[in-house]
Structures are given as C-alpha cells and as structure tokens.
Amino acid sequence: MPSTSTPKILLIEDDPLIREELHILLSNAGYTVDSVTDFGTPLNQVRSFSPDLILLDINLPGQDGYALCTSIRSFSATPILFITGRNTAMDELQALTLGGDDYITKPYNIPILLARINLLLRRYNTASVEAYQIEYKGIQLNPVAGTLRFEAQEIELTKTELKIMHYLFTHPNEIIPRLELVEYLWDNEIHIDDNTLSVNIMRIRDKLRSLGAADLIQTKRGMGYKI
C-alpha cells in the first residue's frame, strides 16, 4: 500500500442510517470511504474499489455476510472486519473460520471500532511507524520518547501528561473543552476525572515553567484550554 494515500475502507451495511453515519465517522477519522448500495452485485464494487479493509455486516438482503465473505476470499485477501448484532459463540466462530479477520458486535463502541480498524490496517501494512516530533512555538514534543524540549532543556512527561500535550499540540490555536480532553484520555486508556485533569495540567505548567515556557497553556475560563 503506498504510504501517501489514505487507507480505503469499503462499507457493506444495509441499514441506510448506520451506513451514512459510519461513512461520516470514518471520513472524519481520515479514511477514504465507499459504501455498497446495490446488494445484487456487491462483488463488482469490491473489485472496482479495491479497498484496504472491508466492514461487513452479516444480515444483508440477498446473500448474507458469511456467503459474501467466502466469495470475496476467492479473489482477494483484503482484511475483513465483521460487524453484527448477533454475538453468540457460533456466530463468532463462523465469522472467523470463513476468513474474516476480526469481529465486532453492535452496538459497538466507536473508539473500539476505530481501534480495531487501525489495528487491522497496521497488521496488513508493514510500513513502520516513523519517529516524529511535533513542534509548536519552538517547543518540541516527542511522543515516542515522551519528552518536551525547549531550546537546550528537556524534561520527561508521564503517560497522562504526554497524552494531554499530544492532544493540545495536534490542535493548536483551538480552545479545547475540558470534557473533550477527558474523553480523548478515556479513548487512550487513561481513565481520569475532571479534577485529576486539573492536577495534571497544573503539573504540566510547573514543568513548562522549569523549561522557561510558562505561558504555553492558556486557560479560557468556562471554556477550556488553548495553546
């Protein structure tokens, strides 16, 4: 897969509302999305779109998801993520033995869905994650090493502090509501409440002060934080 283009995801889901909303969600998450709308000839669409990942519902009009999965497997090794309302052990076994790569049940939690998609795409894409740094106002954040650098000084951040800074650095000049930050942390396996967030922000400010960049994070009273 060329690393320049965004990954392509094909949706095979018959419920129009869920299809549309998933389309929006995945587009917002930075994927190129196409949906199957004609369930008479879904295979043609699979061929012409040549997706990097297929999201496949099991209950479909006409041919069901299992049968479709078998047909797709006959000409393509594209990773398939089953999405279904059924969650018995039999369904799971069937999905996985027919060549599905993963299985997620409705109502799916959205961060979990995105994480699974990400995981599958990464598994099939051997390109390694390159070490990168984000720089803003002369301050460098290194997410891999977990450090902040300003001029010649460097400090280490804890896991929680790193995630907070990462979110702020990737949304410069935006006011980030506290609730949005808490939600982002929960999506990244840090389960803290509003008070603990304040404590962490305070610690980050102390660390920034020692770097000589005390005013980096501004508090917008009643709204949130901004860098």
């Binding site: 419920d15 509302l17 869920i18 909303e21 998933l22 929006i24 969600l25 917002n28 309302g85 059924r86 969650n87 018995t88 052990a89 039999m90 799971e92 076994l93 049940t105 409705k106 109502p107 799916y108 939690n109 959205i110 961060p111 979990i112 609730l179 808490v182 939600e183 929960w186 999506d187 396996e189 389960h191 803290i192 409440d193 509003d194 008070n195 603990t196």
Partner: protein
C-alpha cells in the same frame, strides 16, 4: 401400607364373614350340632379366612412397594404409568388407565409450555438483536455531532444498552454451556472494553479508574467475562459515596488462581447483608436507598461465574469500600 389400614379397607367383607359365621353357627346349633364340633368348624373357617387375608395383604404390599421404588428411581415422576409393571387385575387396570390418561394430558401440557417458553426466549433474543440496530444508529449520530445535548443522550443510550444486555444474558443463562468460546483472553482487554462501553456514563459521574496493574491473561469466554465485569462496575458507581468515585482494578497471580479484584470507595455493604447480595431479588438497605436496584445484577454474576467455573467473592467495610474478587482457575496444562 399397614395391616390395620388393609383391615380397615376390607372391614365390610370381614363384617359379612363374621355375620355369616354367626348366622350359620346358630343354624347349625338349631340342627343339633355339638359345641365342640362347632368350635372346630369355626376355628378352621377363621384360619382359612386369616391365611387368605394375610397372603392378599402381602401381595398388595409387595405391589405397592415395587411401584414406589419405581417412582423413586424416576427423574420425571409423571412418566410412572409408562414405566411401571403392567397390572394384572381388572380393578388395577382401570386405575392405570385413569393415571395414564391424566399423566398423558399433563405431559402434553408440559411439552406445550416448554415449547412456548423456548419460542418466547427466541423472540427475546431476536428482539434484542433488532433493538441493537437503532441503538447503534443513535450512538453513531451522537458521535458524529458532539454537543452537550448529544453527550447527555449518549449517557442514556449507554444505560439502555446495559439493560438490554442484561435481558439478553438472563434469557441465555440456561444455555451458557452451548454458547461459549474458551480461549486465552487478556483481562486488560476485557476491562478496557467495559470501560469504553460505559465511557460517557462514567465521565459524567466523575469516575477515576486505575487499571495499570491489570496484566494477567486467563482462559475463559470474553463476552461473558465482560458482562460480569460490567455488572460489578455499574454497582460500584450506583452505590458511590459522597466523594468522587475512584475504582481500583487489580489482577494478580495466586497459587491456583488468577485473581481480579475491583475495589471502589463507595458506601459499602452491611456485614449482616453481605452474604445475601448474590440472592435473586435481594436489594438490601443500600438498594432501597438507591431506589433503582432490582437485585438481578449480582445474582446473574454469581450464576454465570458458577457456570464458567469462576469463583466470586465480595468483601466490604461499610462507609469505606467494596471489593469484588473474581478467581479464574489457572490452566497450566493448557500451556504446552
């Protein structure tokens, strides 16, 4: 059956015999028979009568005992008429016929109600799968249009989801053994999934959860373990104290078990009630205080744990904490 009962049943015949012998004695005396001959005659008659009655009594008693032991050995007692030895007297045949007809009618009724029950359960499962589609729809719409209002809606949808799950798992409780997939699962994944599913609900309640020391893996079914964890977590939030809820989830390796413990800083459980929290419908003083307790959550957990071979225990100090411990057996022989 006691001999006195048998005599009681046959007192009419005995009375007739007594009256008959009295009548014939008087008649024979009138014809001029001697007292000694008459006594001998009566003695013989009594002897014959007694032997007949006694052997009949023994016969009947044997028959009843054999029927009782057949009944004892049966799991479905209503099948007695089909299994028992065939009767040989006309009287007993008639009773057997009655019994058979009545029991046949009842087995039909049982089969019918079993069928209806199964049909109902299937319908509930079907319904749950259908209700999940609109729930997913709502969640996606809310996620794509995040505002304070949609966040509130999401909390409510998460609550609906929990209740729907509970119904599904209750309906499936009797067929757990037909619906599980045992594999090596990471407890951390289970914990993270449960937390993710209740994200909005937990954030709105200002909950802090520490999961860093959950590292072990166990052999079990992920879906059921997640359901159990979910119930425990919801209880921790439901019965929180005045301070913001902090939940510690920890796993460690004991000799024969992997222990997963969930500790909250909630209101705790009274020592007098702690042994009953797993009973169906038990709400206790905390439940009445929280007003929306149904006494089903922990009952389901306990039943499920028993079916999955997981030990469950609860410790608490009132006003300080409650810890629910799950003991997963270690299957070392599976690690070849």
């Amino acid at each position: 059956m006691k001999f006195s009962d048998y005599i009681n049943d046959h007192k009419k015949i005995l009375l007739i015999c007594f009256a008959g012998s009295l009548f014939f004695s008087v008649l024979l005396l009138f014809f001029g028979i001697g007292i000694s001959e008459l006594s001998l005659l009566l003695l013989c008659f009594s002897l014959i009568l007694f032997i007949t009655i006694w052997t009949d009594y023994l016969d009947k008693r044997r028959r009843i005992r054999s029927l009782l032991s057949t009944l004892d050995s049966l799991d479905q007692k209503y099948l007695l008429a089909e299994i028992a030895d065939k009767p040989d007297t006309e009287f007993e045949k008639a009773y057997f016929h009655l019994l058979k007809t009545a029991l046949k009618n009842m087995t039909d009724e049982i089969a019918e109600s079993k069928r209806l029950n199964l049909e109902y359960r299937d319908y509930i499962e079907q319904w749950i799968h259908e209700i999940k589609v609109p729930i997913t729809g709502i969640e996606l719409v809310c996620e794509n249009n995040k505002t304070d209002i949609t966040r509130k809606i999401m909390v409510q949808t998460e609550l609906i989801e929990q209740e729907v799950e509970k119904v599904l798992f209750y309906a499936r409780l009797d067929s757990v053994e037909k619906d599980y997939l045992i594999k090596e699962i990471s407890l951390k994944d289970c914990v993270l999934e449960v937390l993710a599913r209740n994200k909005q609900f937990l954030i709105q309640n200002n909950v802090c959860v520490h999961t860093d020391s959950v590292t072990d893996t166990v052999y079990s079914d992920q879906k059921w373990v997640c359901f159990i964890l979910n119930q425990i977590l919801i209880n921790s939030i439901k019965y929180h104290s005045k301070q913001p809820p902090v939940i510690q989830i920890v796993s460690h390796n004991a000799e024969n078990y992997v222990v997963l413990s969930v500790t909250d800083n909630g209101i705790g459980i009274k020592p007098s009630e702690i042994s009953r929290v797993f009973d169906k419908g038990f709400v206790g003083s905390n439940g009445r205080y929280a007003a929306n307790a149904t006494g089903i959550g922990l009952y389901l957990c306990e039943r499920l744990c028993a079916k999955l071979g997981i030990g469950i225990d609860i410790e608490s100090e009132i006003g300080h904490y409650t810890t629910v411990l799950l003991y997963f057996p270690r299957n070392d022989h599976l690690n070849i």
